[in-house]
Amino acid sequence: MLITLFVSGIVLGCIYGIVALGYSLIYKASGLMSFAQGDLMTVGAYLGITFYSYMKLPFFISIILIGVIMFFLGMGIERGVIRRLRRKGVEPIYVVLATIAISFIIQNGCQKVWGPVMLNFPSIFKTSTIQLFGRNFQTESIFTVIASFTIMAILQFFMKKTKAGTAMRASAMDPIAAKACGINVNITTGLTWGCAGCTAALAGVLMGPLYGVFSTLGSQIGTKGFAAAVIGGYGNFVGSIVGGLILGLLETLTSGYISSNYRDIISYTVLILFLFIRPWGLFNERTIKN
């Protein structure tokens, strides 16, 4: 029993981790928090069904299309909403609220466009289940683990080792100084949100076959993703995955050995404890004071 719970915890943790990566990316590169990531995942899943299942496009083309659309969606949100607010110089909390509003719009919009029925996302891989430790796992869940570590590695490399990544980090920490150095803050911020949109899309496409597709698919996971990000250190990529894994394992093991009723209470309590006692997370990520 321990092994099954452990593996499930890892899979769940990686899902939280991918979402947290999106949050950390946005924070690292623009110093902001976005509540719309979870719902962007939902859009990714719905787009996945539309291209892959309804229009019967081959998977690679679907994924590229989804990636492009979500990239521009992310950028669009940044440019249309976030940038305008920052230019107005409103308090950062209003930006957070704006993303909440966007989250509402997306949720309800999805329901209107694709209908309220839970949709079936057919398996992406030819072998739909893999046998591990005596039980069947959906191939997508194993793939999620691989994908999350890969994305984490890519982002970590990009942010620390490339010029573009360093430019992004600079514009987040001090936009004025960054501009003085010749960095185009607007473009880097837009690119970041676009990439976060892609990350969300990928997460959505992986979750669709696992859980079915419905309009509230992303919102619960989105909130837990925050917990993952905070535990690991908000803005730290390795931290996001580690935080996700910790949260996933904590949830699964608690449900398994104590009770599934108190699972959410425990997750949120851990989040609050970290916020109160160690807001810089496990990997010592200092918060950016605006």
Partner: protein, 320 residues
């Protein structure tokens, strides 16, 4: 009190009271309309308290429905298990919520804005979960709780009109509390903190104390409103206290305008009317909420009140 209130404000208060008294008579043939007015008064108390937190001390709470919930369940459960009259259970529940609020506020006020919103969301979720799966099923879990009417000095408030007048008196009382609070040293301290808490600290203001006090006050208002809600509809279940309620409070506050007495009045009234107007268009309601909130944030960050203030300034400037 009269020493603080200027003549123009006095007129406004008069109008408010008269309209308030007259409304149920106008709607005597429509009990549904009176019910909606009761909801408006309840939300008004909750949002006015919320304004003290957000508008005056500059903090954020995205799980404020938690206090609303504690007030409602606290009063209903206390009455059910101990038989204490509703009038007192409502107060006890509100005080309990205030204590809880103070406890949570102490570490929360340290946090940066976006972490504060995360912490308050988490708190809201925890309260919801506790109510949804309570140990020993004391809250009735998903089945909810039935409760009874409120009786004031033996007079049972068993019609919407009777409850309405009680609610009206409570609204005036709470507005009075808020007004006095804000025009006192406490209020000035909060405004100073909102503008620049470092400077306030430097001037000798105990920032932490006032921030926590703001939380406590807003928790008290929200909880009492929740208790009123419980004894108006007489059946509560966890579904009535989800995250969407917190967002609704926020929308009402931002839409009307923060840091004022009449901002919440405007916000609550308009959003409630919108709720009613959208009843037939049913499934688009959440969409409209989101668009409205976005609209307010993008275009009118000060809410309606903010728009009016800037219009007034423009008029004054034109005259010059």
């Amino acid at each position: 009190m009269s020493a603080f209130i200027g003549n123009r404000n006095r007129l406004g208060i008069m109008i408010f009271i008269i309209v308030g008294l007259v409304l149920p008579l106008v709607f005597s043939a429509m009990p549904y309309a009176v019910l909606v007015c009761c909801y408006i008064l309840i939300y008004l108390i909750a949002v006015s308290g919320f304004d003290v937190l957000v508008g005056f001390s500059g903090q954020i709470s995205m799980g404020h429905a938690a206090y609303y919930c504690i007030g409602a369940y606290g009063s209903a459960m206390l009455h059910k298990y101990t038989g204490i009259p509703v009038f007192f259970t409502m107060l006890i529940a509100a005080v309990t919520a205030t204590l809880v609020g103070t406890l949570i506020a102490w570490p929360t006020t340290k946090l940066v804005a976006h972490f504060m919103s995360l912490a308050t969301i988490a708190f809201g979720n925890i309260v919801f979960q506790l109510v949804n799966t309570s140990p020993g099923r004391i809250t009735g879990d998903a089945n909810g709780l039935h409760t009874t009417y409120l009786s004031v000095f033996g007079y049972e408030l068993n019609t919407y009109t009777r409850f309405y007048y009680f609610a009206l008196i409570m609204v005036l009382l709470f507005m009075l509390i808020k007004y006095n609070l804000l025009h006192s040293r406490v209020g000035r301290a909060m405004l100073a903190i909102r503008e620049n808490d470092h400077a306030a600290n430097g001037m000798g203001v105990n920032v932490r104390f006032y921030k926590v006090a703001a939380f406590a006050v807003s928790a008290f208002f929200a909880a009492y409103a929740g208790a009123m809600f419980a004894h108006l509809v007489r059946y509560i279940s966890p579904d009535s206290f989800k995250q969407t309620v917190s967002v609704m409070f926020l929308t009402m506050l931002l839409f009307g305008g923060t840091a004022s007495m009449s901002g919440p009045i405007i916000g609550v009234t308009i959003v409630s009317l919108l709720n009613e107007a959208l009843r037939p268009a049913s499934s688009y309601k959440m969409l409209v909420y989101g668009v409205l909130l976005l609209f307010v944030i993008l275009i009118f960050p000060g809410g309606i009140l903010g728009v009016m203030r800037s219009m007034k300034e423009k008029i004054i400037q034109k005259r010059k």
